[in-house]
């Protein structure tokens, strides 16, 4: 996780992802997923790299960069810019909302000093809103990186976020 992404070689990461998922149309989202996971975002420079590898000859169509950009810019889980070291994804769907999510979100904003969609100046936190995470039976819920926290209250926010460096 704490890998220095600047040392990663973009073309070789792309190549590896394509090796794993295949050079077909239905592999595009999985490839973008992989790159997003490794770098923490999808660098624009990755798109032409992917395009070089994926062709759809049976339809006489060669992929354009714009096609890849349109896909990469559509999905919530892809970021086109670097995010903070830790990403908080807060569920703001109705089921969590009616049982007190709003106050938790306020506390998260106060603690991190950023509004939803923003990254803190020290690059420590990114606070994102996400749609339902499917763990509504223990709402309100948020994710920090890959860790999920359920039945959270405003009082628990400092203790939970304090675990992350």
């Amino acid at each position: 996780m704490e890998q220095d992404v600047s040392e990663l070689d973009l073309p070789s990461v792309v190549e590896k992802a394509i090796e794993e998922h295949g050079a077909t149309r239905d592999a595009i989202i999985p490839i973008l997923n992989e790159i997003n996971r490794i770098f923490g975002y999808v660098p624009i420079a990755a798109l032409p790299e992917i395009r070089r590898h994926i062709q759809i000859p049976e339809e006489g169509v060669f992929l354009a960069d714009s096609h890849l950009y349109s896909a990469a810019s559509f999905y919530q889980m892809f970021s086109l810019k670097p995010l903070g070291r830790h990403i908080i994804r807060f569920c703001e769907s109705a089921p969590c909302h009616v049982i007190g999510a709003r106050r938790v979100l306020q506390t998260l904003q106060e603690y991190t000093g950023v509004k939803p969609g923003e990254t803190s100046e020290d690059k420590k936190w990114s606070l994102l809103l996400t749609s339902c995470l499917g763990v509504c039976s223990v709402g309100p819920v948020f994710l920090v990186d890959e860790d999920i926290y359920g039945e959270v209250s405003p009082e628990r926010v400092p203790e939970i976020l304090g675990r992350y460096q």
Partner: protein
């Protein structure tokens, strides 16, 4: 006859064994015997309890109470208090709020009651979801064997058709008919897609099935492939469900190793391959044509329909798209027969339905009950009543795109037919229970914010409509509404539901319109008197919420 009323599961993964799981297991057997409960309580082991750290874990069903770490000296108390007297021992419960995602499939059974009729969830939480042996032990792959060796594809479709199974993704389209469309459509290859892009807020039935019983989905997809003569299938799992993805990946690998997936399945000439596919976060991809676009590596924007996927689906080929819960019904139907299935539920809506109960109730979670149960029963029996004894105000059924049922409708049976007549949608099965402290304007605002964010932007009525509706309702919630707003809302909503390209735009205003019908006075109070009767909206200094308590 012995009736097992309760089940005790002891985790015996490596970590648990190191911490004395074996001794705990035997202590349970001894204590249960001492209390004379051996005939009514079963003790068994599970490999994967999904929670690290608090081992060994002990799970007691039907309450789905998870204890951990359990030591030998704790066993007496659990048996006496919980199994003998029926009281959960809070002090020994595992730290559930520090929940690993893995544990949620068990939490899905919290509040589970013995009277539930489990077909779809029969194995979830009862077997090790990462073991094909466990699955086979619990009747797994028998339906597939029966289909491949004793039935023709036509007979398989006929049986599913006869069962009356309707799609559980929300629309309720008859599954047998969908299969026969694709079977009779010329085209090669054909595809089977399992729609596991469960994104409807408040719904996690598919997640529970995928995480708790992944093999059942593979089995059903292979059967579907056999029925329509397809040899390739995709499972589109939403990106937010990494555990479900890993479980499916693992299930595919094991099934292939056992010759139950791949070439010459069950020694026949039939071959079928399944590809897991992770989404990347887009509600709209639950719409089947958007899902197909996304699978093809594009933006998940719905196609105009017709043509439907049954004729022009993945890569332009005839495609069956079925929801996870729908597929989970296939095995039991083939195994027990359509007649058996029809006896569950009501005549026009056969089988069971999985619901998620959420909001202001004492027990939130997942239940599977026959079609036709009423909201009142769901809340009182399964939800264990309203939280803090508050009054029920409304229930939103079917997720954010669903309808609002006011308290007066709580005796309407929950099935496709009765609901349709009452103008209520069953949708995904989410039941969001809201008490008297809920403000309908605030709720509507939240729902519209969701649709504003999730709208794909392809068609104009939805793109502009969701934004405008959100803006209007926001204004009302801030006390800046005007009397003409209600008519404006009606007009925009009508246009959206009539001319939007897909279900998102068509249903985005459903809840708002219901709120307008049932709770008009409350909205007018916001607009005309600048009062939020529930004290939720941040509107003005006149609001009771903002008035200092003397």
């Amino acid at each position: 006859m012995k009736v097992i009323r309760s089940m005790v599961l002891v985790s015996v993964d490596e970590d648990s064994l190191q911490h004395g799981a074996q001794e705990v297991f035997h202590a349970f057997l001894d204590e249960i015997d001492r209390f004379g409960l051996s005939d009514e309580i079963a003790v068994t082991t599970i490999l994967d309890a999904g929670l690290q750290g608090d081992t060994p874990l002990v799970i007691v069903y039907p309450d789905a109470a998870v204890y951990g770490p359990v030591r030998v000296e704790d066993v007496h108390l659990i048996v006496e208090e919980h199994l003998f007297k029926g009281n959960i021992v809070p002090a020994l419960l595992a730290m559930m709020h520090e929940m690993a995602p893995d544990i949620s499939w068990m939490r899905g059974r919290r509040g589970a009651m013995p009277v539930q009729k489990r077909v779809v969830l029969q194995r979830a939480g009862m077997v090790n979801p990462e073991s094909i042996e466990d699955y086979i032990l619990y009747d797994g792959f028998q339906a597939l064997g029966k289909a491949l060796t004793q039935m023709t594809p036509t007979q398989v479709i006929a049986e599913v058709d006869k069962s009356g199974l309707q799609g559980r993704g929300g629309a309720g389209f008859p599954t047998g008919r969908k299969w026969s469309f694709v079977a009779s459509t010329p085209g090669d290859p054909k595809y089977v897609i399992c729609n596991a892009d469960e994104s409807e807020p408040g719904t996690f039935k598919d997640r529970t099935i995928l995480e708790g019983d992944p093999f059942s989905i593979l089995e059903a997809m292979i059967i579907a492939g056999y029925a329509i003569n397809a040899h390739e299938g995709y499972i589109y799992i939403r990106g937010e469900y990494p555990l479900a993805y890993r479980r499916i990946e693992n299930a595919i690998r094991q099934a292939e190793e056992w010759g139950l997936l791949g070439d010459h399945i069950f020694g026949t000439d039939f071959h079928f391959h399944i590809h897991p596919h992770a989404g990347a976060g887009a509600y709209i991809c639950g719409e089947e044509t958007a899902l197909i676009e996304s699978l093809e590596g594009k933006r998940g924007m719905p196609r105009p329909r017709p043509p439907y996927p049954t004729t022009y689906g993945l890569f332009g080929k005839p495609t069956v798209v079925n929801n996870v819960e729908t597929l989970a019904n296939i095995g039991p139907i083939l195994l027990n027969g359509a007649v058996w299935y029809r006896e569950l539920g009501s005549p026009k809506s056969t089988g069971t339905k999985v619901y998620t109960i959420l909001g202001n109730v004492n027990f939130k979670g997942l239940i599977e009950v026959p079609m036709g149960i009423t909201l009142r029963e769901v809340i009182d029996i399964y939800g264990k009543g309203m939280k803090d004894d508050k009054k029920l105000k409304l229930v939103q059924t079917g997720g954010s795109s669903g309808t609002i049922a006011p308290a007066s409708l709580q005796d309407t049976p929950l099935d496709f037919d009765s609901f349709r007549k009452a103008g209520v949608s069953l949708g995904s099965g989410a039941l969001l229970v809201c008490d008297e402290d809920t403000c309908v304007v605030d709720l509507a605002k939240k729902i519209l914010q969701f649709f504003r964010d999730e709208c794909c932007g392809k068609c104009t009525p939805c793109r502009i409509g969701t934004l405008r509706l959100y803006e209007i309702v926001s204004q009302i919630s801030e006390g800046k509404g005007s009397p003409g707003d209600l008519e404006l809302i009606s007009n925009i909503s009508k246009a959206m539901s009539e001319v939007s390209n897909c279900g998102l735009g068509q249903t985005a205003s459903t809840a708002l319109i219901d709120i307008l019908n049932y709770f008009r006075e409350e909205i007018e109070a916001h607009i005309l008197e600048h009062i939020c009767p529930a004290g939720v909206c941040p509107l003005s200094e006149f609001s009771p919420a903002a008035t200092p308590v003397p």
